[in-house]
Symmetry: C2
Subunit: 243 residues, 2 copies
DNA sequence: TCAAAAGTGTTTTTTTTACACCCATGG
DNA sequence: CCATGGGTGTAAAAAAAACACTTTTGA
């Protein structure tokens, strides 16, 4: 097959980026009481990968991460946080990129910038599932949400990166009140609780959860939400200042 | 003045390292109820800097950090942890290295590897003050402990790096029981409390502190320590498994 | 025998956990 | 009028904070 112009352009764009450093993003979403992660599927091969990218020569690393996130989700103003640098000495020096390029009709030279060792700065992002518009990149056919529990095998150390992002998220959940970023603008207490239960992977007592959240005084109670169900209508809440 | 051979060699050794990435270490020690940080003073200029270095092409980043730490302190098996990547777009592109080299008799070419933009991976390390042997590097005349409160102005964003290291240390103190690494093998409960009080910058109640530490069941009580003071002799303790 | 600091004990307060109760709602 | 889930109340348990008491020691 003959390679796409976009891909060729990208493979020739190494001089735009800081060499040897990449960014990988673990983009979390929440839907149907499940934590989801955005995963790309490579063209022409069966490889799966986290959304990632490179840092432009004159770009702040956080801006690079935001750019990557916006390209994959269509969202600006995403909550994101650096959590770890992955720096195994052989990281990125396996066959992944070579095989991918070959499958797409390009043979990379031995000293191609993509075949060098790469450090990767891991970021995790929390997005409102309902507003994200998953969009593939030059490498990939699809960009899709996967249940955290049902992730495919990812390239390189990406499964470990997800694992570590999750651990950081759990640690930060109470610490930085970060969970709201995974929900729409307004939500019921039940939805918030479901989110916490999913992230922490343990059931919480409804009454106590409600009291605790309200005692933080960061939630604004709005009108009731009509559910059509045979019970009291729950209140809607809004988080007062996101981030 | 004519430049030292060591410095010339170092300035020509860029090809050994990953380009554009450095490591900076905030090395904490504890002495006289004060938190200390190890700081280098540059040769021939009045610049102060954190101990740092670069990552060899085939070296795990954590190994690079350990190597740097060993070179500055003489200690192996140091407790250390990555805490943040500093990635301002102009980081490292100021005059620091140029001025330093000039003062030492070398004019760097415009495209010299040290004059590029650098990301820096921040590590913090906790060492036993009494065992560390501060040792300057090629850049510096002295390598000395400074009180955290009395730090000089450091180059680049190094003051901010220290600040963020301290915040991380405070956060981790209870979380990972990390404080013991700042003390000698054996210590009294009073010394441990002084350490906690210093790091957290607040007084703690003696009775409660003791109870809490003992309840963690990670301290081994040894013989009493003879102090020569006019009061009960305190027990010595040892932390069961460091790290 | 006194002051100083160590070790332990006790009380009070706060926080967390568990469970109970009542309410609105649609079928 | 009943089952369902939402909101609030209360009791019990646990943890944290505050304070008190006793012991050892050198001067």
């Amino acid at each position: 097959m003959s390679p796409s112009k976009e891909l060729v352009d990208f493979l020739n764009s190494g001089h735009l980026y800081m060499p040897g450093i990449s960014i990988d993003c673990v983009i979390f979403g929440f839907h149907n009481r499940q934590l989801k992660v955005l995963v790309l599927q490579f063209k022409s091969t069966d490889g799966y990968a986290l959304p990632g990218g490179f840092i432009r020569k004159e770009e702040h690393i956080d801006d690079a991460a935001r750019r990557i996130l916006e390209e994959r989700t269509g969202l600006k103003e995403i909550y994101l946080e650096q959590f770890h640098v992955f720096g195994d000495s052989e990281r990125g020096r396996d066959d992944t990129h070579r095989k991918f390029s070959r499958a797409n009709g390009i043979e990379l030279e031995a000293d191609h910038w993509l075949l060098q060792r790469f450090l990767s700065i891991g970021y995790y992002a929390l997005v409102d599932f309902s507003r994200a518009m998953p969009t593939p990149d030059v490498f990939s056919d699809t960009c899709q949400w996967y249940d955290l529990a049902g992730l495919p095998d990812l390239i390189l150390d990406h499964n470990r990166i997800v694992q570590q992002a999750l651990e950081t998220l759990r640690l930060m959940l109470d610490n930085k009140l970060v969970g709201f970023n995974l929900l729409p603008e307004t939500f019921t207490m039940n939805e918030l609780q479901a989110l916490y239960e999913t992230i922490l992977d343990k059931p919480l007592l409804r009454a106590n959860f409600q009291r605790k959240m309200l005692s933080l005084e960061i939630l604004e109670r709005l009108e009731k939400k009509w559910t059509g169900k045979a019970h009291k209508a729950p209140y809607l809440y809004r988080f007062q200042d996101r981030h």
